[in-house]
């Protein structure tokens, strides 16, 4: 049976805290090295994923999309504005064309069916006949 004196003395003793020991080398080195190995493997995995993503994005960015050129040209020839090309007809054609490329193709490949007015001739035809000395 402990007396109050004993308890008081015990409390006095408990005020003295034992000094902590030095850390165990295996806990300090082993755990740290295991942690660094695990961190290293994580970093390597992240780096590998980043490289793969970069390669994929690079190839996707450089990939040449080859459109169905024959189809677009056929469409352009069918639907390109007839008659002389004006800003209005070009705008209308750009608005209705399935793609920008199809619109440009349509303007480039449209047939020159409109006849030239009387007395006028094509500049290209005239230039092709002349012998120009440079």
């Amino acid at each position: 049976m402990q007396t109050p004196d004993d308890e008081q003395f015990e409390a006095y003793l408990k005020r003295f805290h034992p000094i902590a020991p030095e850390s165990v080398p295996a806990l300090r080195v082993g755990y740290a090295s295991r942690r660094s190995v695990s961190l290293g493997s994580w970093l390597a995995a992240v780096a590998a994923i980043a490289v793969v993503c970069a390669v994929i994005l690079h190839f996707r960015g450089n990939r040449v999309v080859v459109p169905n050129a024959a189809h677009d040209v056929a469409f352009a020839e069918r639907h390109a504005p007839a008659g002389p090309l004006t800003m209005r007809s070009a705008n209308a054609w750009l608005a209705t064309a399935p793609s920008f490329k199809a619109a440009v193709d349509g303007l480039a490949f449209r047939s020159q069916t409109s006849p030239l007015p009387q007395g006028k001739q094509s500049a290209v035809a005239v230039l092709s006949k002349e012998k120009i000395r440079l």
Partner: protein, 169 residues
């Protein structure tokens, strides 16, 4: 986190929590701070190696028992009588009471080894008398009576030293 890493983390927590009391206990048995430290490291390294700590039900009691065995085995190997090295500090002096710390250390050194064990286990290891009985292989009544004797001797020894210090001043 793998099982091994979890074990190491758990051992690290136990070392931080009980390391100081274990070192004091080992010092109180071995009498040598360096040997006590070695015994403590030996026990924890073995615990990491063989994972025996994870199977123990009362981990704290298991650690104290292991440290005691390690110190006693070491003493047996050295085949020497243990004399207590009380020159190196065992405690952090509260409120810079260095004289009190030295006084306590010397008073502990004057105790018989079996009483010293019990007092360290109860006061700084926070073990009950039945736990101490299990750990040391004695009955809880024996542990309690050893404690009472130890406490009385310690108090007498410390007050005598305090008085002698006061008289010499």
């Amino acid at each position: 986190m793998g099982k091994t890493n979890r074990n190491i983390a758990e051992i690290e927590v136990l070392y931080r929590r009980h390391g100081a009391a274990l070192l004091l206990f080992a010092s109180a048995i071995s009498g040598d701070r360096g040997r006590a430290q070695d015994a403590l490291h030996h026990v924890f390294l073995k615990a990491i190696e063989n994972g025996s700590l994870s199977r123990a039900i009362n981990k704290k009691a298991y650690l104290f028992a292991c440290v005691r065995n390690a110190v006693l085995n070491d003493a047996k190997r050295q085949d020497r009588n243990i004399s207590l090295d009380i020159e190196s500090s065992w405690f952090n002096a509260p409120e810079r009471d260095y004289a009190g710390e030295q006084n306590l250390r010397r008073a502990l050194g004057d105790l018989p080894a079996d009483q010293r064990e019990v007092i360290v286990l109860h006061v700084w290891g926070d073990f009950t008398f039945s736990e101490i009985g299990e750990l040391l292989g004695i009955s809880s009544n024996t542990a309690a009576s050893r404690y009472r004797y130890a406490l009385a001797k310690l108090r007498g020894s410390m007050s005598a030293k305090e008085n002698s210090c006061a008289d010499s001043r």
